[in-house]
Symmetry: C2
Subunit: 338 residues, 2 copies
């Protein structure tokens, strides 16, 4: 089992975030760098979870000399391809298992990871437990569109969803947007392939019927093209479709940037135009950029868990840590009931 560097119990009211230093494509370098940046930003402490020696070296490389970032030793790493259930059972000294344990034991008040999403969801569900009445937790990501933010859930915790699960996501999403964005009666929409109630796969059609009766502000079906138009505050979908949606947006944003850079390369006139348009392009493309999302929040478990993108750079990690802090401060997870 893990040897914790800081065995003393911390005050639960203090913002102390456990950060999986070994999760994601750019771990541990970018994770540690992100922790150092996040610590500069605000009143918080960070516990890096991973191999002590290696993380100490990384902190040194960053020139970190403060006392707000500490290390909880964990010798194993759950790989992206590992089966979640197998990994949780067999890699008990992994950064994910140790990190979630810190949360369970109230040695940390939130957990952030860019590692194997399935493993984080499974460990959180089994170790922290689900909120009373919640069947399955869901991952919610907020897209910061110029027309208004929209929380999309589930974006990847459940590849297949029963209609009743979608209704529960709608409830959880409503509470989250109320707490975090102070929106009264958030407008909840169901993602479908047409606005009419008759559109959608059979589970989506059934979810529509149930949502109409639910005690939320359900506004009906919306299509993918309405997402960015500020028509809803919460978008409910299954984890498969939500994940495709998220990654398609990401890919299109990248394509746009790639094509622009390729065209302006060596063309001073175009280059100048891009520079002039920079802020405008950034405001649009930034919406599709996962580094700005600050990760997805796992709704429906007894604790604050944020899943960052597997390709997170230090900026994405910094934002994910700050998001975890905000979620805690606003009590968005505590307020959720199944």
């Amino acid at each position: 089992m893990a040897k914790k560097k800081e065995p003393k119990k911390t005050n639960n009211k203090k913002t102390k975030i456990a950060l999986d230093a070994m999760g994601g494509d750019h771990a541990p370098e970018e994770i540690v760098k992100g922790a150092v940046e996040a610590e500069k930003e605000g009143e918080l402490e960070i516990v890096l979870v991973g191999p002590e020696d290696r993380l100490e070296k990384e902190l040194e490389k960053c020139g970190y000399t403060g006392n707000k970032i500490t290390i909880a030793d964990a010798s194993e790493v759950i790989e992206m391809g590992d089966s979640p259930v197998w990994a949780i059972k067999n890699k008990r000294d992994s950064s994910i298992v140790v990190g979630i344990d810190l949360l369970k034991n109230k040695e940390a008040s939130a957990f952030v990871s860019a590692g194997n999403t399935g493993a984080v969801v499974t460990a959180a569900t089994l170790t922290l437990g689900k909120k009373k009445g919640v069947h399955r937790p869901a991952l919610g990501a907020v897209f910061p569109f110029p027309a208004g933010p929209i929380l999309c859930l589930d974006i990847g915790a459940n590849a297949e969803c029963k209609p009743e699960m979608l209704v529960q996501f709608a409830h959880m999403g409503s509470i989250y947007m109320e707490k975090i964005f102070k929106i009264e009666h958030p407008r909840v929409a169901l993602l479908s392939n047409g606005e009419e109630e008759s559109k959608g796969s059979p589970p989506v059609q059934k979810a529509h019927k149930l949502l109409k009766k639910a005690k939320i502000n359900f506004i009906g079906n919306v299509e993918g093209r309405d997402l960015s138009k500020g028509v809803a505050d919460v978008l409910v979908t299954d984890g498969f479709t939500g994940n495709v949606l998220l990654k398609t947006g990401e890919g299109l944003g990248e394509m746009l940037l790639h094509t622009l850079w390729e065209a302006v390369d060596g063309n001073p006139k175009l280059n100048e135009a891009v520079n002039v348009l920079g802020p405008v392009l950034n405001s649009v493309i930034g919406t599709l950029d996962y580094t700005g999302y600050g990760g997805a929040v796992l709704l429906g478990v007894e604790g604050v868990v944020v899943v960052a993108h597997g390709r997170s750079n230090f900026k994405a990690i910094e934002n994910a840590v700050l998001k975890a802090k905000r979620v805690m401060e606003f009590g968005a997870v505590e307020a959720i009931r199944g």
Copy 2:
């Protein structure tokens, strides 16, 4: 029943396209205008299907004086909200039913509609019949990404798909890309929420297993973000997810344009930059613009049927008609076997 203005049988080898003049949000004005534009483009004849008096007036408004655009009278219109099966049964003199009949009777060699997608698919399936061995036809749309075109299917004919249907879509898509884009052994990918075989909903996981054994060039799962990268020639997915994908791309393209125009409005410097970058921005945003797709081809029925976007303007209709012509010329639909 419909009174056809041109009762004589046309030579089936000649390109004569039946066009639903009453389908879509901007019918019949934009449809007729699109027909006039398409007729200028190439060697083809067009039969506009809809109320004769009204369409004659529209042709007059366009100043059309040629003899390559004729009218087949149809007094009824299937609305976007009509149930497809009900509408096909009860609106026998609708532009969709009459248009598909023209195709069935070899009075036209292709049918194009921007109307109720479900009604077009149902009418085509019931009246023209399915290709031998095909369980369910699928709608395929080609995204013209700079890194290479990719055919995405199904984009909306079947909201729920069994694994075996996805495998059949893969076969049909392969043949289409071979014929239209002259690609040998097109690379076929399955859309999922992760590259690993274990990712996806249970039907997607099963489809993956079946696709590995199929006689096609299956390259495995791809995620939404890889779409634009030229990693595959054919992308297989169910009609629900495909539709969400298509419309999300559309919405993001629109958002980008909207934000740009809003920012440059009244700002000469930004305006100039946008003008300089015009061609580059167009090449990217155009990829997401449904008017350029030329509509989706219905694969798996005995005839060339193209479904254009419900919001089609004349340009989209023109492109859809020209796409139908191209599909016919390359024999892409004839070559398909179940």
